[in-house]
Amino acid sequence: MAADTTLDSLPDLLADLDRPTIESSDLRTEEMLVNMGPQHPSTHGVLRLVLRTDGEMVLEAVPHIGYLHRCAEKIGENLQPYQFVPKTDRMDYLAAMNNNHVFALAVEKLAGIAVPERAKYIRIIMAELNRIASHLVSFGTYGLDMGAFTPFLYAFREREYILDLFEAACGARLTYSYITIGGVTFDLPEGFVDRCREFLDYFEPKIDEYNRLLSYNHIFTKRTANVGVIRAEDAIRWGLTGPCLRGSGVKWDLRKCLPYDIYDRFTFDVPVGLPPGGEPPVPPGMPKARVPPGVVVGDAWNRYFVRVIEMYWSVQIIRQALDQLPSGDYRTKVPRNVKLPEASVYLEGENPRGQLGFLVVGDGNPIPYRVKARGPSFCNLSITTHVCRNCLLADVPAIIGSIDVVLGEVDR
């Protein structure tokens, strides 16, 4: 309804301000309503979780989001696509290259814009480097949530190299706006390929180090194994994608099942959650990975480990892309006011956190009629209430950390 209300005409809604589904009157005497967030060290952003607890046992957890809502979709109806690309950076700010990539692909599919080969390879390299960087953050902060302070710093030390590479390519360390409509904004600088290879050679053995430091650590395994178990059917029905879905044993990856861009030209494997004793696929030449006892398919440990193994395969993809990198244009010349046809397109890409989808509806103008961003963390987070039942208070950060939420794309 049109809102031409003044303060006087609003009914007394202060009493209902953000009324939680858990009413205080619902509580029994021994229960407590605890507020975790919006500012909290382990909620990975401004997420508010209202927990109904009985001592250390969490009976119910209700997430409240919207604290980082920045009206991206409304702005999308006022900007041309190439102007909207920086907005996509800020949705999942840890995987900005991937966001740009998916949005650019969606608009190019709608408008029928062709992208030169070199640009496609550069996009893949950047997207996979960002996947490594994002998984490093997720791995490090998950360790931090569990009380292991050191892997966080090792992960960020490695990430510094990736950010240096990005800074060399486009000048920014976090929000790049590098992959844009028609290609990429700048060509790769001189020496980028060599530095990238140097980094990959340095980084690949580190993943085994992280496994020995954190993944197989007995205490870490006891904190995360059999915690927050999500069955495969539930994962699919609740719309989970990415490592959350793969951790439940579903071998589904958009890069393999519905290949977009040029992912079908690369050889790589995709890890899934496995029971104890299982060996996730690791590239040849690397030490074998193994699943410790106590772990269950679909638990927090498996979701976390899928991300760690994915880093191995991203390294392989980048190596192949660097080897196959052709010369040529890095961007098609797209005219300033390209009219989008009167149609809609929905395109999804495999982001580090799941499948990011953009629905772009055109109406014949250069500015889209509607831009809808389907954030993977939005769907992944919706399972929280279903999973955090009758778990311990210490398990809540374990579950949220394993789902790996970034509030930027939950709220947009």
């Binding site: 049109a2 202060l14 989001i65 719309g239 009629y369 939005f378 709220d411």
Partner: protein
């Protein structure tokens, strides 16, 4: 199954529910009547030929020119490969369904019982467009009637921000909401 085959199957099974078909576009879809939508949804999910088990996205679109609000449901059918547990799952089909409702009284039955993923998506569609999803599991009752609880805006927010005629409130609990020159929706 190709989108054409799916559309034909739906038209054969629910001749009165499918009001329109659009196949030549980058996003092929059928238009389903709101009243019959849950039945069609269950059919889409449970029929062995279709098997759409994941709701990828639910987007609202405001069409004031036609006095309509649209809800676009993007579906995908994922199933394990026959070759065994080590093989990648197959994307059997990709499809979209559009449900159009009147802008003055937009009501669509909720499909949160069919795909629990719709839970939060429907809350967002209500929050930003005002489409009331009847039977939503997280509904609240207030002066606007029974509707899904808002998700991104505060629970007592007035108005539906993504509508084309939305005016930003002058004030929210004492916080001024207008931009320059007191215009809630300035055009530069």
């Amino acid at each position: 199954m190709t989108p054409e085959e799916i559309a034909r199957l739906l038209q054969d099974t629910f001749p009165d529910a499918i009001t329109d078909v659009a196949m030549g576009t980058p996003q092929p879809y059928v238009v389903v009547a709101a009243v019959r939508w849950p039945q069609v949804a269950y059919f889409l999910r449970d029929d062995p030929r279709l098997g759409f088990n994941m709701l990828r996205c639910l987007s609202g679109v405001d069409r004031p020119a036609k006095n309509e609000l649209e809800a676009v449901y993007d579906l995908i059918a994922m199933r394990p490969a026959d070759a065994g547990p080590d093989a990648y799952w197959l994307a059997a089909s990709v499809f979209a369904v559009v449900v159009r409702v009147d802008r003055a009284r937009p009501r669509i039955p909720s499909v949160a019982g069919v795909w629990p993923a719709a839970d939060w998506h429907e809350r967002e569609a209500y929050d930003l467009f005002g489409i009331v999803f009847e039977g939503h599991p997280d509904s609240v009752e207030d002066h606007d009637g029974l509707h899904p609880r808002r998700i991104l805006c505060p629970d007592d927010w007035a108005g539906y921000p993504l509508r084309k005629d939305y005016l930003f409130p002058i004030e929210y609990h004492g916080i001024p909401g207008t931009t320059e020159y007191e215009m809630p929706n300035p055009v530069h």
